[in-house]
Amino acid sequence: MKRILVAIKRVVDYNVRIRVKPDGSGVITDGVKMSINPFDEIALEEALRLKEKGIVEEVLAVSIGTADCQQQLRTALAMGADRAILVQTDAVIEPLDAARIFRALCERETPLLAILGKQAIDDDCSQTGQMLAALWGRPQATFASKVEINGDVARVTREVDAGLETIEVDLPAVITTDLRLNEPRYVKLPDIMKAKKKPLDTLDPGALGVTPVERLKPVKFEPPPVRAKGVMVKDTQELIDALRRKGLA
């Protein structure tokens, strides 16, 4: 069966104002709203659209993390994923280990595409998709804003610093999503009911041959430096005067 594997990371919702714990041991996540990483939601939407076009028959949603990630996987199933796998662990998973887990699943599930968000909005690493592509020995098309599948190649438009770049990759391949790829659909209530019956399997990283390793130890968390309070000017002339005083106009 032709399928797409989609990564679903549980992250602090993008609307939450992040605060660092007073003792510097992390950021406050207790009682904070958690959501699917917005870029992963776009990844799932793209997979669903490719399924609706008849390019694949199955969309598999995969999350790595604590038992709570089941909530985000249920949302993914309600959006339209066919089945889900939670690789359950309480360990902090660095991008390289996430990539090792996805590689093991790609070898087992042989997807046509693995689609991941271009970054997770918690650690902002932007590594996992590229690392998966390297370990899997397959092409990568990162920061995608348009995806076309023609037989066994994908033509992908990428958002790069210079503008828009188009590349062609042989399938299977890894794609990471940028914000303008699509607008994810809303979940409808009946779909939430239906999603409860869809399969959600739980696996241990060890079952995929991966023992998570801490390679980069987070030793400290701090709030960012605050900018000094600014001044308000009352009209355009005052603005120009203020800029001239700073030698900026």
Binding site: Q130, L135, P139, D161, T166, E222, M232, Q237
Partner: protein
Amino acid sequence: MNRILIVGEHDGSRLNPAIAKCVTCARGIPDAEITIAVFAADPTAVAADAATVAGVDRVVTVTHAIHSNALAAAIAPQLAELAAAYTHVFGPSTTFGKDLMPRVAALLDAPQVSDLMAVESATRFRRPIYASNAITTVAAAEGSKIIATVRIASFEAAGVSVAPAPIEAVTVAAEPATHTRFISVSSARSDRPDLQTAAKVVSGGRALASADNFGILFKLADKMGAAVGASRAAVDAGYAANEMQVGQTGKIISPDLYLAFGISGAIQHLTGIKDAKTIVAINKDPEAPIFEVADIGLVGDLFQIVPELDRLLG
């Protein structure tokens, strides 16, 4: 001795200015010996550029026809092979570096520090997380190879050296992958300063309300010698080109002056401008969050203020 290899991003003829910033970052590592690697179809001009960046000890070039376009899949195996002799491998936090470096890290089974913003030691670094709403310090085990993308807004460019570093052509055994092919690149080319390195940036948000209206910002920018940026809302609405987006998922910039017109100041936008020396906000809503970070604020209608600025700066 720490041996640092920096991948020399280029456009075929010129070294990307971000590389001189990576060199400054690398010089922060104690006892550093710095090499720039240039992958190109013809590396001559770029290597000559790289050799004059102050602090660079050596330039190595890898010549292959496939490198006429920068493809991560083609460069990664060759860069990983070169990396064997180095303790650190750095690239810029540009879309080129973000695409390439994790692929190299995985091939080397090494961790990556993304958006490295400060060096504390050869194994200890600071980087932003949560759209720069927190800064974390990370430590790698002593002796582990470290891959990083360097947050270019955090470093000044290294100067130009009068005594160019030696350039050496090297051969690598790893063949570049051919499963990835470059087709084309399109950009709204302009003669304006480059957004990522401009000293002044004029930027517009959703309030501009059309691509035509963005014209008033271009006019003002030209008068000031500034680059033009945009919020995501302006880009999504088609008022501005995608490469103009500033923010968490656009460009992170550090100009001397950032003028924001009709931009509300969402966290994701502010991430991109926190390192600007002076932020000026023009917004008709006195409660707009952008005023919390602005050094100079002006409450008013941009459609009145932009032409006034244009005239008074005359």
